[in-house]
Symmetry: C2
Subunit: 304 residues, 2 copies
């Protein structure tokens, strides 16, 4: 049986929010175009949050208005409250990406709301999504561990999913926000939630901070997950720290899956082209292994 | 059930043979000492091959003579023919690491012998090992693919193991010499050989060239492998190419396994100390993720 996995590209949102510079809207559009040309069908394009908090994404409404609509391509925007959701819908987004933290402390630090307040916002946003005929996803942040509270018990994750299912949302992302997960744990959590909620879609949003990103993806895919979130070029991480990696690089992930015979439907050469655009856009070397290999091939040729 | 994995450290051999410079013997000894202090019990220390072919390891006999003997620590040396084996035994080595390639072309390029000639040498070396009361391991090079011949069929691997078992050797290393393996394939090969040869010890020697190193290790450990070869700091790869990685870094591997609850018996802080010694020894940044994280923590502190 051939297994297929959908890649959800988050570089334009999760990657660029980690940048210190504002990337011009037209450059973001060029990257989005390169991604859809490589076959990417799910793109988290921006977030509708306070421009004071994340000035890098202050062009959210303009960007969404300019994104080229293609059949089968879904553009998503992160929102953390009703106001953001209304702004995103007004801009014409077709998927709302909401976030609830599994950890009370992280929730306060990340969105300045308690988990209960986030759940209340989720209900409002789910209604808005339904009224507007758009889909909604909810990321469960710190599901694999919180830098402040440590391990998250399974019952906490189940409780949040149960509460959110009541609002009508049926798509979830299990987020390893701080890159604390390990493959054994990822395998166990994925198997548990898929067994408990067989009709719910779960994606994995992992970080490669400690080098375990692809091993954790493998554990997730072998555990039954069929949607993986990643970032072109490995956009993200801390720009002040050389080689510090945050997100898993989309092209590295796709390479692993395709080598294993898992189909992604993406064109690896065109993904690398998109990664080069991302690298040029931020003006520094990105942590992607396949960008490094491409550079090295180039060096070798020069040395011949 | 707690799973334990033995780490076989190959940096002093596989790592240093990729260096362009000769590292003084006393520095190699310091690294070996740091490794045993971290709890490493299996160390591939050098190779007894032509000093013209690998001048970096031309001090093999001297190094082996000076290695500190500790209870439970086995020092191994790579040999590719009878002459090397005799030299290694004369120097006092207690384990001979032989290599047979699964690919005829790679065999010719690597050791200038046909696979049949290597098998004949294996029989002689196995007798020498037995006579001298030392153990012998045989690496099956290019088991996961050859850069010249492509995929290696399972029957080829079984044939070589069968031939080698007749010589009396009972320890094998499955080598991904060119870093061509993927986790699905590693999982399958490991499960197949362990099922077919239940009383034979197999280790995995993987390379991280394309970023799949730790994912492949995971596949191997979940497939039943209990000995993994790696290189402190990620020593190896091509020194001319920035960030080009060859071997899996021991400290990254141990971190993943311990996080998963797989026991290695090694002290992670002392492994990092050894990695710093390795880095200082070669005079450039090594590809280890945990060395990078340690550097970044340092940078962060400075920025406060």
């Amino acid at each position: 049986m051939t297994v297929s996995v959908i890649i959800r590209e988050v570089g334009l949102r999760d990657g660029l929010q980690a940048e210190t510079q504002f990337i011009p809207t037209e450059k973001k559009l060029a990257l989005a175009r390169a991604l859809t040309e490589a076959g990417v069908t799910q793109i988290e394009a921006t977030s509708f949050v306070s421009p004071r908090a994340i000035p890098q994404l202050r062009d959210a409404a303009e960007l969404v208005g300019l994104l080229e609509q293609s059949p089968g391509v879904t553009y998503s925007a992160l929102v953390v409250n009703e106001r953001g959701a209304r702004d995103a819908l007004a801009a014409g987004i077709t998927e709302l990406q909401f976030v609830v933290s599994c950890s009370e402390t992280h929730s306060q630090k990340n969105v300045r709301m308690s988990v209960a307040q986030s759940l209340a916002e989720a209900a409002v946003i789910a209604s808005l999504a339904q009224e507007n005929g758009v889909t909604m996803r909810t990321a469960l942040a710190t599901a694999f561990g919180c830098p402040y509270e440590g391990k998250i018990v399974y019952d906490r994750i189940y409780y949040l999913i149960d509460q959110l299912l009541e609002t009508g949302t049926k798509r979830f992302s299990l987020g390893d926000t701080a890159g604390l997960g390990n493959p054994q744990q990822v395998s166990e959590i994925c198997q548990q939630v898929l067994k408990r909620y067989p009709n719910v879609e779960f994606s994995l949003h992992l970080h490669d901070t400690r080098g375990l990103g692809l091993a954790c993806v493998l554990a997730g895919v072998w555990g039954g997950i069929r949607v993986i979130e990643s970032s072109i070029g490995g956009l993200g991480g801390c720009p002040f720290i050389p080689r510090a990696t945050g997100n898993i690089a989309t092209e590295d992930l796709v390479f692993m899956l395709e080598e294993m015979g898992v189909r992604t439907g993406l064109d690896q050469q065109k993904l690398l082209d998109a990664a080069l655009i991302a690298e040029e856009m931020v003006g520094r070397e990105l942590p992607s292994r396949h960008l490094a290999l491409a550079r090295n091939l180039h060096c070798n040729n020069n040395e011949l």
